[in-house]
């Protein structure tokens, strides 16, 4: 096990390598340094893949996809905190696709522990296993991991750069480095002499970086405070550049149609009508679909829709009922995993009351506001690809393969993402744009999907079912035996990304199911995989998105069967297991003035889930207004351990909840004749201004480990709403979406 210690040390090693005109500070591969991707120009010094200082100033690199979660700002703040620069005075860029930008926290999430019970040893092991992220070049934004990944490394990068700059100043002034201080991008000598970092950059490039220690959190200026987002000005003035906004010289505009029977072949097509339509420059046969290149996106969409295509059948049962039947059959197979098996669930304890319930949830689309698109320029020996994406190194490898080029011949330019939610971790939009551009070498081509194409060609959150059995005795839950069945996004994605079959127990399928922090003595939770070819993927909070609904609705049913207040019932189970979870429940109890009683025509529901290291409790209040039910208010408490930016945590908690409530109220992807039946927002809507609840958030910081914030707000929202509707109407919601059962304000 000695090697783990070594790997761990190397994980945090910020080393240097001499480059033209300076030095690069970088994270290392397990055995060799990752190439510095920034290729500094003459007179510039790359102080690490995360910091660049030249005569113009300081640039920080936040190589995590900014899809709204504020990662650019907080990532930059981690560096700036130690580097002593102000976010107003520097540039923050995304940076290119590069192995040095691996996400080691994402791989650590794969360990088979519950998360909240993690020991320091397991925590360290998780950190060490994170090294695998680098060797696989996993520069991925997902799994609510960015801050866990960057928290140590980025502060260390900032501190190393700062001390190296101070050393350069010390040598110039002939004083000891310890006598120097730094603030706002300058080194200050004891006599008050101020030397800007920009003047020290080149000299710093010749210096071996000193060992540094991180500052105590009590000294922080930026972290822990709500900072202005670095992207907010551009996003309030229409000047932020999304993938769909890039305009390289000579750009042409394309649109695409792939088989709506997802994964089916294209037998033939007739484009004669499209060929003569206005603006059309080229019809492109993609083999599995067709595209039109035109001088305007709208004209391209009109033309591609005018192509008559004979599509082959889908490789899965053609309608929702048949798919549901297939998913439910997975319960008959041996479980793929049983990650929790405490006590004995096969014996019903004497005097206990047994409760059972079955639940179902539908397939869901991501429906990012910016439809899928990418822009590619192929010149025969080189490819440039512009797009918002959550995995630049993966997309780089994939499109290099598509174009028959080495990965070094592909430059990925990551823009802002008009929403991600997991959808932009896929590679299809980049691959299609590459194929389209290859039909017109030397000309940049932007391929934009219509909303209908986007909605009907997603990697969907899989439809899922649960069969729950439990027992209560003396007002307490003493047994929970749960089974969940759905397709496995992880296995499918591994196959998509690598071509290899991903086997073994799938933790993601049962996350939010087996690892909920409740002290129930007899507790078994199993996952069953339905083998279907419907494209499925990672949807904000992934397995937690359905398991939160199953687990927390069932717990509510148990509480009511036990004649207990559902909040007190949970609190009693959470307290002995995980104090931060109990703290969140206590917080929403106080915030909402929870009494267990509600006035006539008002209903309240509670739910608590633990996901991505963060427990979140929500209370949702619904009101009956002349027969129409409106979601009136919501209270959220989360414990993230350390709120690096409280305003961003609040925004993510509210946004995550609204994303979940949108799905819970109306979200549903259904199939008929092998095709998705929803086309556009009128068929697949979301909460809007008038039906979004007034929400209050409290951020707690007692959790021992840093928790994620982008996703944990989503899982508890759906059961909290369902439980509120039960409180209001006495009708239990066992399937989603809820507008099928209740007259909700939409």
């Amino acid at each position: 096990m000695a090697s783990i210690g070594k790997i761990l040390r190397r994980t945090f090693l910020i080393g240097s390598a001499a480059i033209v005109g300076g030095v690069a500070f970088g994270a290392y591969y397990v055995t060799r340094p990752a190439a510095n991707p920034l290729k500094p120009g003459k007179g510039e010094t790359a102080l690490s893949p995360f910091v660049l200082i030249d005569q113009q100033g300081v640039t920080l690199f936040a190589p995590r996809a900014e899809m709204g979660q504020g990662v650019m700002t907080t990532w930059a703040a981690l560096i700036a905190e130690e580097l002593d620069v102000e976010l107003d005075d520097i540039r923050v860029l995304h940076g290119p696709a590069a192995a040095a930008y691996y996400n080691h926290a994402l791989v650590g999430e794969g360990l088979p522990n519950k998360g909240y019970d993690v020991s320091d040893f397991q925590h360290n092991l998780g950190e060490a296993l994170g090294v695998l992220g680098r060797t696989l070049s996993l520069q991925v934004t997902g799994g609510s991991t960015s801050m866990k990944d960057g928290f140590e490394r980025m502060r260390m990068a900032g501190a190393t750069a700062r001390e190296t700059l101070k050393q350069a100043a010390a040598e110039r002034l002939g004083v000891d480095r310890a006598q120097l201080t730094t603030e706002n991008g300058v080194v200050i000598a004891p006599d008050g002499t101020r030397i800007p970092y920009t003047e020290l950059a080149e000299a710093a490039g010749q210096i071996e970086p000193p060992e540094v220690a991180l500052r105590d959190p009590s000294e922080w200026r930026l972290l822990g405070k709500s900072l202005p987002r670095v992207d907010v000005l551009a996003k309030s003035t229409g000047t932020a550049e999304f993938g769909i906004d890039v305009r390289p010289q000579g750009l042409k505009f394309a649109s695409v149609r792939m088989n709506p029977k997802l994964g089916g072949v294209m037998n033939s097509f007739d484009a004669s009508a499209a060929e003569t339509m206005p603006g059309v420059e080229k019809i492109v046969d993609l083999g599995t679909g067709v595209a039109v290149i035109a001088n305007n996106t709208w004209l391209a969409i009109q033309a591609v829709e005018a192509i008559d295509v004979d599509w082959g059948d889908a490789p899965y049962p053609p309608d929702t009922d048949a798919l549901s039947e297939h998913i439910s059959k997975a319960f008959d197979d041996a479980p793929n995993s049983t990650m929790r098996d405490d006590g004995d669930v096969d014996v019903m304890p004497e005097g206990a009351t047994e409760i059972t319930a079955d639940y179902t949830v539908p397939y869901l689309a991501h429906a990012t506001m910016e439809p899928m698109n990418a822009t590619a320029l192929y010149t025969g020996d080189k490819l440039d690809l512009w797009c918002g994406n959550q995995a630049p190194t993966l997309i780089q490898m994939r499109v290099a393969n598509t174009a028959g080029l080495e990965t070094e011949a592909v430059d990925i330019h990551t823009t802002y993402l008009g929403g991600g939610f997991g959808r932009r971790g896929e590679l299809d939009f980049g691959e299609i744009a590459t194929k389209v551009a290859m039909a017109m070498p030397g000309t940049p081509v932007q391929t934009t999907w219509s909303r209908e194409e986007d909605m009907r060609h997603d990697y969907y959150r899989p439809g899922a079912m649960a069969r729950m059995r439990g027992a209560i005795k003396d007002g307490k839950a003493i047994l929970i035996d749960g089974k969940v069945a759905s397709q496995s996004p992880t296995q499918q994605a591994v196959k998509r990304y690598t071509g290899l079959s991903g086997g073994g127990p799938d933790k993601v399928l049962v996350e939010g199911f087996f690892n909920q922090p409740y002290a129930v003595p007899n507790y078994r939770m199993s996952g069953h995989i339905a083998d279907l070819a419907v494209p499925v993927g990672f949807w904000r909070s992934v397995g937690n998105s359905h398991n939160g609904f199953f687990h927390e609705t069932f717990l509510d049913e148990m509480a009511h069967a036990a004649g207990r207040d559902p909040l007190e019932f949970r609190l009693e189970l959470a307290k002995p297991e995980f104090a931060p979870a109990a703290g969140c429940l206590e917080a929403v109890k106080e915030m909402s003035g929870w009494t267990g009683e509600t006035p006539n025509a008002v209903g309240r529901g509670v739910a608590m889930t633990y996901s991505f290291g963060t427990p979140v409790a929500q209370v949702i209040e619904v009101v009956d207004e002349d027969g129409t039910i409106r979601i009136n208010k919501a209270w959220i408490a989360c414990d993230v351990g350390l709120a690096l930016d409280p305003s961003t945590v609040e925004a993510q908690m509210i946004g995550g909840m609204i994303y979940g409530l949108s799905a819970a109220t109306t979200g549903e992807i259904t199939f008929s004749d092998g095709e998705v039946e929803q086309y556009n927002f009128p068929d697949y809507d979301a909460l809007r201004m008038h039906n979004t609840p007034i929400t209050e958030v409290r951020v707690l910081e007692t959790n021992k480990h840093l928790g994620g914030v982008g996703e944990p707000g989503t899982p508890p929202s759906m059961p909290a709403l369902g439980n509120a509707l039960f409180d209001l109407t006495g009708e239990r919601a066992r399937s989603l979406p809820l507008n099928k059962q209740f007259n909700l304000l939409v």
Binding site: E66, M67, G68, Q69, G70, S226, P228, R229, D231, V232, L233, A234, K235, S236, T237, G238, T239, F242, I244, D245, R247, F253, P278, G279, N296, T297, W298, L299, I301, A367, T368, M369, E370, P371, Y416, L417, G418, G419, G420, T448, S450, R451, A651, I654, G655, G656, I658, Y659, S662, N680, F681, P682, D685, A686, R688, M689, H690, T692, I694, T695
Partner: protein
């Protein structure tokens, strides 16, 4: 035949078929990409611009039907000279992914132009055609109220 359009105070000659929606004239021809494509069916509001001060979905207005002067988010204010509503958006840190915000801001600006002190109900009515998948609605509401009170003081 070219069509003349006045956009953000400047006249452009546009050589595209009459039925091309204003949205795609702005984005792909004039190069004003602040106005966004979201749905193409007037269901999300991401493409909202003003024609003679009225908020319209530019994906539904054909080039030949543009009846007046067009103002886009770029014409409302710039990073160096923001309109009051944009300033409120920054102050309230509204944007997450930001993709829908041009449309939200244009819709809110039109609301404030005709109602200087909108109630929560007025905001619900005016803004419910504008979708935001990030769920920034509470901050949008706060920013509109704030802009309204600042405009009153001014």
């Amino acid at each position: 035949m070219a069509t003349a359009l006045k956009i953000n105070g400047k006249t452009h000659q546009v050589d595209l078929p009459d039925d091309v929606p204003l949205l795609w004239v702005l984005r792909d021809e004039v190069g004003l990409t602040g106005t966004k494509f979201g749905c193409g069916v007037a269901a999300c509001g991401a493409c909202t611009v003003h024609i003679d001060g009225e908020a319209v979905r530019s994906c539904q207005v054909a080039l030949s039907d543009v009846w007046g002067d067009v103002t886009t988010i770029e014409g409302l204010g710039t990073p160096d000279a923001m309109a009051a509503i944009q300033k409120a958006w920054v102050d309230h840190q509204v944007a997450q992914c930001g993709y829908c915000q041009s449309g939200q801001i244009m819709q809110a600006a039109a609301l404030l132009a005709e109602n200087s002190a909108p109630s929560d109900e007025d905001i619900d009515d005016a803004m419910q055609g504008n979708l935001c998948r990030c769920g920034t609605y509470p901050r949008i509401r706060a920013a509109i109220h704030d802009a309204a009170s600042k405009l009153k003081e001014a």
